[in-house]
Structures are given as structure tokens and as C-alpha cells.
């Protein structure tokens, strides 16, 4: 069986598919690709099912050698890359020959790059998914120097596109939000504050959540919330008043009130924010004409 032998993992590389939703009642989070749309696209480019496992790179930097013929694709945060010494592009199938080394640089924008390989990364699934949950520790080990990523059986489908058009993720991102279940726990102007001046992503952000710095979201009172179920995209607000945007590996329950929830499709954009970048929120609804 062919494999990718990892020569260098970069800052953080994990195996991810679309996760293990449905087990939250047992305390198991869904996990999976932080930017699901990019993983899906990478899989389509190599003819895989959309939920095949790939590698999620945080700030690029992976080097890996193919032991056999392989077809790979890179999506998400755009990185300079080469395969077997030839420069290769993003969002396109990349053929690799036995011994070719894939070298991925640092992304020029965005945070997370996805590497799909035709046949998928065939590590043993844990609770039905090949996803590393950095909070609970479930799933495959982190990808390290020397990790051998086995490639699964070729799917029946063939790659059908040479290059996919993608939406650029650059500049100020605006995420649509829906007022949350505990919006009434906040001062009357808090939703307006949230949707006013931009917030900035801090360096303490990870797959669990993006911590945001910006205008304080004040509580209406001192009440304590009992833990309740959380969703990806929820904006939970600790007592200091700066929101945390929950991402793929969020805890299944949390005890901080949710002021608003980012519309599901927009959470993929949130996963591409880099520390220091601005992000705005706006209430989801019909656009003013």
C-alpha cells in the first residue's frame, strides 16, 4: 500500500475527516476539519468521497515523501508548494511519482491548508472518524516527523476538474450571526457592540476556539449559567466580556452564556482567521436594499 512519509510536520498537522457528530450526549465532540468546505473541495479534486480523511495543516510547513504513485490536492490557506521539485498550485490535482517529496511553504493568507490524497488517509478510525480532537485526545496521533500516513484504496470516481475556483479569504471578514440563546443575559446594547467595531483574533486561538479581543460585551446581571450544550460557531462570553468563537474541537457543554451563533457556513471562514486579523459580525437577515 502506498503511503505518505512525513519528513516534517510544520507547526501543527492533524489527520481530519468530517468528524464524529452524534456522540455529544456521551461527552464526545464532533471534531473534524476546522474548514470543512476546504477539505470537501480537496477530496473532490482527487475524486474521493467528500468525507475522506486528509491532513489539516496549521500554517503550512509540511514535507512528505510519496512511497508510490499518488494524486494529491491542496486547498484552503494558499501556500507555495512543490512536488518532486516542480512548483505546484493550489486547488488542483497534483500527480506524484514514487519518491517525490511534497514541500509545502507557509500560507500567504489564511491559517489552515488541507492536503487530500486520492484514496484518503487510511489510519484506523476511532468512533467512526479519522479526526484528531485536540481537546479530548480522541483520534489519530498528531502528525510528526516519521509518521507514515497510509493511503487507502483508489475510489471508483476519477478527478473531473483541473482547477477549482475558490473564494478568496483575505482582508476583513464579516461573519453572519444569529442572536444566541442567552442574548438576554447581556446589556441591551451588547448585540450592537458585537456587530459594531471589529474584533481581532488573538494568538491563543486553536482548533477549540478563536479567542477574540475587542469591545467588551457586558452582562446584564451577575447570574451564573449552568453548563449547557454548545455548537460550532457559538460565541461564548467569559466574565471578562471578550467572546470566544467555538470551532471544531469545542467542548460539548459550556458554562458561559452564548450571545450569538455564527451561521454554520460562515464558521469555515472563521477557521481561516489568523491571529491579529480583524473580524466583523452582522446579524443575519435580509440585506437592506
Amino acid at each position: 500500500m502506498s503511503a505518505l512519509e512525513v519528513l516534517a510536520p510544520g507547526p501543527l498537522a492533524t489527520v481530519q475527516d468530517l468528524g464524529r457528530p452524534g456522540l455529544a450526549a456521551l461527552g464526545v465532540g464532533a471534531s473534524g476539519a476546522a474548514d470543512r468546505a476546504s477539505l470537501r473541495l480537496a477530496n473532490r479534486l482527487v475524486g474521493n468521497a467528500e468525507d475522506a480523511a486528509g491532513v489539516e495543516l496549521t500554517f503550512g510547513g509540511l514535507r512528505a515523501r510519496a512511497t508510490g504513485f499518488a494524486t494529491v490536492a491542496l486547498t484552503g490557506a494558499p501556500c507555495p508548494a512543490s512536488a518532486g521539485g516542480r512548483a505546484v498550485g493550489m486547488n488542483a490535482p497534483i500527480p506524484m511519482r514514487p519518491g517525490d517529496v511534497l514541500v509545502i511553504g507557509a500560507p500567504t493568507q489564511g491559517a489552515r491548508t488541507y492536503l487530500a490524497v486520492r484514496g484518503g488517509i487510511d489510519v484506523p478510525p476511532v468512533l467512526g472518524a479519522r479526526s484528531t480532537d485536540v481537546l479530548s485526545g480522541l483520534g489519530p496521533e498528531f502528525v510528526q516527523e516519521g509518521t507514515v500516513l497510509p493511503i487507502g484504496r483508489e475510489p471508483a470516481g476519477f478527478p473531473t476538474v483541473d482547477q477549482a475556483p475558490v473564494r478568496r479569504v483575505a482582508g476583513e471578514v464579516t461573519l453572519r450571526v444569529i442572536p444566541g440563546p442567552r442574548a438576554d443575559w447581556f446589556a441591551p446594547d451588547a448585540l450592537g457592540v458585537l456587530c459594531g467595531e471589529p474584533y481581532h483574533v488573538t494568538s491563543e486561538s486553536n482548533r477549540v476556539g478563536a479567542r477574540l479581543e475587542g469591545p467588551e460585551l457586558r452582562r446584564a446581571g451577575p447570574a451564573e449559567l449552568q453548563p449547557e450544550g454548545m455548537v460550532r460557531g457559538a460565541l461564548q462570553v467569559p466574565p471578562h466580556g471578550r467572546p470566544v468563537l467555538l470551532l471544531a474541537d469545542h467542548p460539548v457543554t459550556g458554562g458561559y452564556p452564548i450571545i450569538a451563533v455564527v451561521v454554520d457556513e460562515d464558521v469555515d471562514l472563521a477557521a481561516q482567521l489568523r491571529p491579529g486579523e480583524p473580524v466583523r459580525f452582522r446579524i443575519d437577515g435580509p440585506r437592506p436594499t
Binding site: 450526549a25 464526545v28 444566541g180 449552568q226 449547557e228 450544550g229 457559538a234 457543554t253 451563533v261
Partner: protein, 239 residues
């Protein structure tokens, strides 16, 4: 029962099992979880019970928040009609399914718990074994169940300084809850003892023994018989 919006793909059902006024009591979250798991509304993906709420995730292509509100309301009425006593529906759903967990009561905090609660260590063990518990919800870590039904005398706040490592299998108490640590992890609960029962195993189906609604009894491994004469109600500590 209140329905709160949790984004575009979920709603939060807030329950009041002990209303102050004359209104009918809502089911416990674990009970609603069981009801919904048994008769899943179309388009619902999963249910996450917690202390006062059940989160319902759904596929917006298959249903809507409004449709789910109706369905969940009907399911609760049907369950209430079937059994006026709200608590026993959980028990009926899991009759003959009392999970017995053998415990060696030699925990690091047993003596301290005895001292704080004004009981002898043997009495602490007897009261912990005497309860019939219900898994109210899971959280903190995969397979970590929060079990209600703890004797009021054993109700203590968490340790002021959490331990950096609590071994897997530790049987512990905090606040109104008892639990079994499924993994070695940091933890602030009071350790009463240890069990060999693996409450969590990813290779098993289901991986968690302590699923919401499961009823549990702890059995002292040193004792030849179980003292089950006290505090037999599933929610004694919460009433």
C-alpha cells in the same frame, strides 16, 4: 419548557422540572433525551442533555426549528400522559437496566469527606452505596457522566485545589453529583474509591456505559452484600 435559538442548526430546550407555580413539571433533561432518542423527530440529528437543558441539533434541509418545537412539545405531552409521575418515565425506559459498579472504597479523600460531612468513613461508603443514581448528562470528557441521586449528607463543594492527575476508574463526588473518571485527567472532585469497570472503551459499542438516563448502583467490593435500604429515589439530592 422554553425553546431558545442556538444558531441556524440547533435549538436549546430549557426545562423546569420543579416549577415554583402551578404549571406542570417539565421532564428532566435525561428523560427528554430518552424520549427523543426512542422516537426521534424527523430531521433531528442529536440531543445533548445538560443540567437544565437539552440541545437539539437538526438538519435544516429536513426540518425547521418551528416544526421541531411542535414535535418536541407533543412528545413531552405524550410521555407525561403515559405517566403522570415525571420521574418514573426514565426508570420505565431502563427497567431491569441498573448498572452495578463494584467499588473498592479506598479513595484518597474518603477520610476527609467523612470529617467534613460528620460521618464515619464506613457511613460515607454505606450512603454512597445506598443511592440509586441516574446519569443526568455527560460532559467534561468523553464518557464522563454526571450522576444525580447523591445523599444530601455527601454534598460537598469541589476541592479548593484540583488534582493535576486523577487516575482512570476513580469514583468521586462533588456538589450534587457522583461519577467515575473515564480517563486519567486533572480533576477537582473528592475521591471515594476506585473501580475496575471501564466506563469508557472506544472499541466497545456503545463506548460509554454512563449514557444519560442510565441508572447506576455502586457496590462495595469489600462488603458481601449491598446495603440498599436508604435513599432509593433517583433524584433524592436534587428535589
Amino acid at each position: 419548557m422554553r425553546f431558545l435559538t442556538m444558531g441556524s442548526r440547533a435549538l436549546l430546550v430549557e426545562l423546569d422540572p420543579r416549577p415554583d407555580g402551578d404549571g406542570p413539571a417539565d421532564p428532566e433533561p435525561a428523560q427528554l433525551y430518552r424520549t427523543l432518542t426512542r422516537t426521534p423527530p424527523a430531521g433531528a440529528l442529536e440531543y445533548v442533555p445538560a443540567a437544565r437543558t437539552v440541545l437539539v441539533r437538526f438538519d435544516p434541509a429536513l426540518t425547521s426549528a418551528a416544526a421541531l418545537r411542535d414535535r418536541i412539545g407533543q412528545a413531552v405531552s405524550a410521555a407525561t400522559d403515559a405517566d403522570v409521575d415525571g420521574h418514573s418515565a426514565v426508570e420505565a425506559g431502563s427497567e431491569a437496566a441498573i448498572l452495578e459498579i463494584p467499588v473498592r472504597y479506598d479513595g484518597a479523600d474518603l477520610d476527609e469527606v467523612a470529617r467534613i460531612s460528620g460521618l464515619s468513613p464506613d457511613e460515607v461508603v454505606a450512603r454512597h452505596c445506598g443511592g440509586l443514581y441516574t446519569v443526568a448528562f455527560c460532559g467534561f470528557a468523553p464518557g464522563f457522566g454526571y450522576l444525580t441521586g447523591l445523599d444530601d449528607a455527601l454534598r460537598l463543594p469541589r476541592r479548593a485545589v484540583p488534582r493535576t492527575r486523577v487516575p482512570a476508574g476513580s469514583v468521586a463526588i462533588a456538589d450534587v453529583y457522583t461519577s467515575v473518571y473515564p480517563h486519567s485527567s486533572p480533576g477537582g472532585w473528592h475521591l471515594l474509591g476506585r473501580t475496575e469497570t471501564a466506563v469508557w472503551d472506544v472499541t466497545r459499542q456503545p463506548p460509554a456505559l454512563l449514557e444519560p438516563g442510565t441508572r447506576v448502583r455502586f457496590v462495595s467490593q469489600d462488603a458481601s452484600t449491598t446495603d440498599a435500604t436508604t435513599n432509593g429515589t433517583a433524584d433524592g439530592a436534587r428535589g
